[in-house]
């Protein structure tokens, strides 16, 4: 099974894809895939192993807020809900819908239906709470549908763009 999670990091929304495979996790961030082993001996403690290198992390959840401690730093990350499930079927292409993290106004739509985009490309620019947010492509793929236009006001979680991956 495969899931997309979206997180607001600074002024950007990042999509992280997690797939469970052979007892490990394949996690894709910004087009890079990590093959991760996980051990959790206590609540909130996640010891990660990636290519033999180990990372000790502590993750806290409160509603949509996430905080993660890594190497002595604490990072605050907001989960953007309304995730769309992806089912890795028999060779079928994965697809995903991208929504707005916050209520706001669409500043610009940078793509059209049919455009080929790469992971990390900016698709839509939003302004919300005086911050500019970029909605970026979670993977390489093609734009299937655009549900917003510049100047439009959108609600939290409203679907903005749909994509199909290249697989």
């Amino acid at each position: 099974m495969k899931m997309d999670y979206r997180y607001q990091v600074g002024d950007e929304i990042k999509t992280v894809t997690v797939e469970r495979k052979n007892g490990r996790f394949l996690v894709t961030v910004d087009g890079e895939t990590f093959d991760v082993g996980v051990a959790s001996s206590e609540p909130n403690l996640f010891n990660l192993e990636i290519g033999g290198r180990r990372w000790r992390t502590v993750v806290g959840h409160r509603e949509n807020k996430r905080c993660v401690a890594l190497n002595g730093d604490v990072w605050r990350i907001e989960r953007v809900t309304e995730t769309r499930r992806q089912r890795s079927g028999s060779g079928g292409a994965a697809s995903g819908g991208l929504g707005s993290a916050m209520p706001g106004q669409v500043l610009d739509v940078l793509v059209s239906v049919g455009d080929a985009v790469s992971a990390g490309d900016t698709l839509v620019l939003l302004e919300a709470m005086k911050m500019e947010l970029r909605i970026t492509a979670p993977m390489d793929g093609t734009v299937k549908a655009v549900h917003c236009a510049a100047g439009e006001t959108v609600n939290r979680g409203q679907l903005l763009v749909e994509m199909a991956s290249d697989e």
Binding site: D30, N44, R62, V68, I77
Partner: protein, 507 residues
């Protein structure tokens, strides 16, 4: 172990880490303990550790931890033979100490009279001067503006106007010139009157860029007095200490001996009994001046414990029970180096304002030479009613450089999620070249960290990887993504709980 305990049952009139610290000492000594608590603390650590616990009242301290009458009644009702006040709250309340004694119980601390003598800054200065302890040059003879103006000119500007009954910086003014003085006197008197109901003020020479170095002292009822060397507490924010260490990187053997002698002379002069601290200011020319005496156990007492090997709480109990001090001056030495950092729920990037909220998860560092005196841990709420200190992190190393490295390690391994803490700030202080050199003054924080900000780079990908995996597991745990799991043919079910599973990790 068949020895009769010093006391049968002690009530600890405090909360948080110091209550925990005292309860543990009592448990080691075979003494039963009674905790007290407010509405905010019913489920807190100190209550769960004690043998019995007594509810006092509402969360505000005035309705609970400051209710000396209720506390004394509870102690009597439960058959306690002593009360330990900890620090803060009633610890320096002379009337409470007297009431405890009058009720036939032992107050673990100095007498009410000793607190009164040291609580008035004017009286304390006079007592120290007559004991030959250097005091900051000052003037305290009369209260007339004309006399104070003349005196200020004699002392030399800048001068400090202080409230006689003062504390916490209230009624305090730094005055740079005689023209500013009349207004400063008037406003200091008003503030002192409002804060303490006592408008008496006095003048002191303002020591520019001093170090704050204090001596731990102890007296017993048999006329013995000792010091347990110094703690350097120059690193402060908002007039409160945040990092303390022993030995001071500034003192040499000669200055240390002279200050220690002065501290012991001060104890003898007032016939002080139990634990106390003589605070000194030390200027760049190595002159030292008596600042004030604290008539209680200090927050930062662990650094002294780690370098001297003396358990100060147990020594307090021993002295309070009328025994002689168990150590003599010649036997006390400083071994290695200890540093304490106070971990606070506060925002260093925003004037160190206190933060409130629930601690989602705390993971404390554990290792050789690392001590954590915590009052707050996973699941605890930090409320606006009390000091937002989470814990004291204390390390010991063979020398200062080792201790600094160990503190850096311990801070990096202290995880507190859910509230903003000063841990990143403390890490930057400990890493600063001036701190590493031991170049400390009470202006260290404003001098080096006035516009400190938390780094704001984007989190590393690994952080996002960890968060996403935790979300998948949490969702699975809630049953949000249960279908699809069966297809994996996975019979063992780490998914049912986030506890104790491992997968894909090569052993």
């Amino acid at each position: 172990m068949t020895q009769k305990p010093l006391f049968n049952k002690i009530l600890i009139a405090n909360r948080g880490e110091i209550a925990v610290r005292i309860i543990r000492a009592c448990q080691e000594m075979g003494i039963a303990t009674v905790a007290v608590y407010s509405d905010a603390d019913a489920a807190s650590l100190h209550v769960s550790l004690a043998d019995e616990a007594v509810y006092l009242g509402g969360a505000p301290a005035a309705e609970s931890y400051l209710r000396g009458d209720k506390i004394l009644q509870a102690a009597q009702k439960l058959g306690c033979d002593a009360i330990h006040p900890g620090y803060g709250f009633l610890s320096e309340n002379a009337d409470f100490a007297d009431a405890v004694t009058a009720a036939g119980l032992t107050f673990i601390g100095p007498t009410g009279d000793a607190m009164r003598a040291m609580g008035s800054k004017i009286a304390a200065r006079a007592a120290m001067q007559s004991a030959g302890v250097p005091v900051v040059p000052g003037y305290q003879t009369t209260d007339s503006d004309a006399d104070l103006l003349t005196a200020a000119a004699d002392i030399g500007f800048p001068v400090l106007v202080k409230a006689s009954a003062g504390g916490g910086g209230k009624g305090m003014r730094v005055v740079q010139s005689s023209a500013e003085l009349p207004n400063a006197l008037a406003s200091a008197r008003r503030e002192a009157q409002n804060a303490f109901g006592d408008d008496r003020i006095y003048l002191e020479k303002y020591i520019v860029n001093p170090r704050h170095i204090e001596f731990q002292i102890f007296g017993d009822t048999h006329g013995n007095a000792i010091h347990l060397f110094e703690r350097e507490c120059s690193i402060q924010r908002r007039h409160q200490k945040i990092i303390e260490e022993s030995p001071s990187p500034f003192l040499d053997d000669d200055l240390r001996r002279r200050m220690g002698d002065a501290a012991v002379a001060a104890v003898r002069a007032v016939g002080y009994v139990n634990a106390g601290t003589i605070e000194f200011l030390v200027d760049a020319d190595r002159n030292f001046y008596f600042l004030e005496m604290n008539t209680r156990l200090q927050v930062e007492h662990p650094v002294t414990e780690l370098v001297t090997g003396v358990d100060l709480v147990k020594l307090q109990l021993r002295v309070a029970a009328g025994k002689e001090l168990s150590v003599v001056q010649q036997a006390i030495c400083q071994q290695g180096h200890a540093i304490e950092c106070r971990i606070y729920a506060e925002d260093p990037a925003n004037n160190f304002l206190p933060e409130i909220g629930k601690v989602l998860r705390a993971v404390e560092p554990v290792g050789p030479g690392v001590r954590v005196d915590a009052g707050v841990t996973t699941g605890d709420e930090i409320s606006l009613h009390y000091d937002p200190m989470i814990a004291k992190l204390i390390v010991w190393g063979e020398n200062r450089a080792e201790a600094v490295r160990k503190m850096d390690w311990a801070l990096r391994h202290y995880v507190v999620l859910g509230v903003t803490t000063n841990i990143p700030f403390l890490r930057d202080v400990v890493a600063h070249s001036a701190f590493r050199r031991g170049d400390l003054t009470t202006n260290f924080v404003p001098d080096h960290f006035s516009d400190w900000q938390l780094h704001t780079e984007t989190p590393p990908d690994i952080a996002l990887v960890a968060v996403a995996i935790s979300d998948m597991l949490a969702d699975a745990n809630r049953g949000a993504v249960t279908d699809g799991m069966a297809g994996d043919g996975d019979r063992f079910s780490p998914w049912t709980s986030l506890r104790g599973f491992r997968m894909g990790v090569t052993q």
